[in-house]
Symmetry: C2
């Protein structure tokens, strides 16, 4: 990177952080309809920031729910085009009482910024904008062409982006995809990610008697939906930590010896136990922790509720019981096929005396890319020069469904260069982002654009 | 009953219902600390109503939480003394959105009064007061001595009444106990209850990682407390509807052939299915519905919660999972012994990777009384003369822990003459009370006092 860009970033650091705080103050929770106008406000904020950065053709493109923001800079004739994807929506904030500071009043403490979205993904989207701004305001031009496609529905499974990408293939056509929505494998371990798990999300409702019943008067004579739910859910795992849904593992690719070795070498089990205050980790028998997260599918109950939750005791048999569940999928599991297997399992294991209703939520295919692609090298080299250490090439356990979408629809190989850390509480209270990675990450992103010009032109 | 008392009740019916509405308007929810002052207000209301009725020595007797109301009339020299027990506290009202009218704005519709506590138990406590008032204001004296002991903590397991009764044995000493906090077995089937189930209530918390985790980043590598909870709870029943806690049934008395016959004869299975909109009833294999409710113990999950409950999906592994549970006990199960068995089961079946915390709530011994006692006959005769049909002698599935307390501590045989109906939604939205049973019940109670004089003097 040139000194002039380096100095630009240094000189504008405080201003950048103020802008980021401003962006993070908008409660753009896509899942909750009462926050629709906040999501819109975040879209407007983004559009202004992109303009300010020197991007062109900025469009707030409406969908059925939350808009997609498009922008580009296409004056690097004959050079490759990088499509940058990110999302400006965030997760809900409950339980609110576990936050040490308010989720939408960003606070900087110990060189970390605390706020919902600080790391996932508003903070990293902001870095992409500042990468472009720093180069343009210093050099007057970018080394390659750039397109931005920033959505507002990632945390609810991108229901409208699929149609959007399908319908705007020309607008979005590029050579590679850049996403910063994953994590580094550890502190000062900059990471290029070459694989992600997919997803199949759903919720079930078990309906028993027409209304809540007194457990003294009826207890013993009717099915309790909470019993039925625990019975049903307990049929979905065995005591080896395996998912017992028939056919669930049929399409799963075995893990290569080389990858298994990497999983062992990168093991952080002891740190993880300390960090999570656990006596023991737990997972599928026969696999080390990283293999369980990178390359093995899961079925995870994310929420369970029914009956009385208040103070004290209420002797009730509730009329309903609910569970929210997500499966993480790995190649070559197909979300639709897994959904069919799940439905069959739930129906065939349904206890007596309750009715089952399934609501399907987001689905995403798993994603895996060859890592000898020059774009991956461009990312690794950029990380090495900013962080001063060899980068890690790894898979991740999360899902960025859109990566697979761009891969399939637009034929784009993806570079996942994320700057979050696992300990940063995404989706949980006290989400934060280490500013050390804001600074080094921003430098890496700048270098990456120059490397892409060199390696892909 | 004399015509003058009958006329008194008729003439004052509207006034009585207005007073009852006033009583039911007070949200005396004992479980919720924000309603403490409402519980106090209900205690004051009661104390005034007892005075108005002509009772004497009225005392609002403080306990550690909610007061006990005492009153008496002791001028029937040489005649038996009836101790009347009831409770002026009520259950919480959630889910509030399922109420058709507000729980604390009583409404009369189709000759039923709708409000929390209408049936359980404020409505029936009110009837006892009006029984005394009607006799005193008509005859100037009662046929027997009467003591009232009305508590404000029944719905939270009467934590302070045990000590209270222990410490006031002389004040409360009587010949029989009268309680109206049970139900009739059906419409126009007036019922004398001679047995109740006991209770052992508790809640469990399973604690996993120190904070909520992203299910992509950690999913597959740590125990999910919700999985552990469903696994643990699923070990507590088998597919025959039996409780699988070791030793749970050891002390259970077998059901007599005669009682089994009664259970069959009184069967309301088809009505019950229609009323609850169920395709099938469900319970312990080998027992008819009424036997399951009267004479078999249960382990019932009353509430289950953990993780995300909001709209949409949140990909979280929660750090905690919770269950609230009550066991209904039958003779000769001892709550303390059952608690020990439960604890042993929970500890020995605890899944890996979570910590268990148990909080014990109320315990009550089951209760069974010989029904050739003259007080039972006094009740049956009174019901027969008001309702014009033979009364049913039955057990009930619920728990009125205090009955066993008075039985043990004061040596009182109990007459349980309740006027509620199972369909009246106690502990659920839209609780109500049939005014037909308010009218006939009040007459029965008046007759009962005269019958007691005759049969027990």
């Amino acid at each position: 990177m040139t000194d002039s860009i380096k100095n630009f970033l240094k000189d504008h650091r405080n201003q950048h952080l103020d802008q980021l705080k401003d962006f993070l103050s908008i409660p753009s929770i896509s899942a909750q309809s009462e926050h629709s106008s906040d999501v819109k406000a975040a879209a407007n904020w983004l559009s202004n920031a992109l303009k300010e950065a020197g991007l062109e053709n900025i469009q707030i493109m409406e969908t059925k729910r939350h808009p997609v923001i498009y922008a580009d800079w296409l004056h690097a004739d004959g050079k490759p085009t990088v499509l940058i994807y990110g999302h400006y929506d965030v997760q809900p904030v409950d339980p609110l009482n576990k936050w040490h500071s308010e989720p939408f009043k960003p606070v900087i403490k110990d060189n970390k910024i605390f706020a919902r979205g600080a790391s996932d993904d508003k903070g990293q989207v902001f870095m992409h904008i500042k990468m472009v701004e720093a180069i343009l305001k210093t050099n007057g031009e970018l080394p390659v062409n750039v397109k931005f496609c920033i959505e507002g529905e990632e945390e609810i499974g991108s229901p409208n982006l699929y149609g959007f990408v399908e319908n705007h293939q020309e607008l979005l056509s590029s050579d590679i995809l850049l996403v910063s929505d994953t994590t580094m494998v550890g502190k000062n371990k900059p990471t290029v990610c070459y694989g992600l798990r997919g997803m199949c999300a759903f919720e079930i409702e078990l309906k028993g008697p027409s209304h809540d019943l007194h457990s003294g008067i009826y207890g013993g004579a009717v099915q309790n939906p909470l019993h039925a739910l625990t019975e049903l859910l307990s049929t979905m795992h065995n005591n080896k930590g395996q998912v017992t849904v028939d056919g669930f593992y049929d399409a799963v690719q075995p893990i290569s010896e080389e990858e298994m070795k990497t999983c062992m070498e990168l093991s952080q089990d002891e740190n993880l136990k300390t960090q999570l205050e656990l006596d023991a980790l737990y997972g599928e028998e026969g696999y080390p922790t990283l293999a369980r997260i990178w390359a093995r599918p899961t079925l995870e109950v994310n929420g369970l509720y029914g009956g009385f939750e208040g103070e004290g005791i209420k002797t009730v048999i509730p009329s309903e019981a609910h569970a929210k569940i997500t499966c993480r999928l790995v190649p070559d599991q197909e979300p639709k096929e897994i959904a069919a297997l799940l439905q069959k399992h739930l129906e065939s294991h349904l206890p007596t005396g309750v009715k089952l209703a399934i609501t399907w939520h987001d689905q995403a295919k798993p994603f895996l890319t060859p890592y000898d692609h020059p774009a991956i090298e461009a990312a690794g080299d950029a990380l090495k020069s900013s962080y001063g250490v060899d980068p890690v090439y790894a898979r991740m356990g999360g899902s960025v469904p859109i990566v697979e979408l761009f891969n399939t629809t637009l034929g784009l190989p993806a570079v996942l260069m994320g700057f979050g850390l696992d300990e940063e509480n995404f989706h949980a209270p006290n989400e934060h982002f280490h500013l050390e990675n804001f600074d080094k990450g921003l430098e890496s992103l700048v270098d990456f654009l120059f490397n892409v010009k060199e390696k892909l032109s």
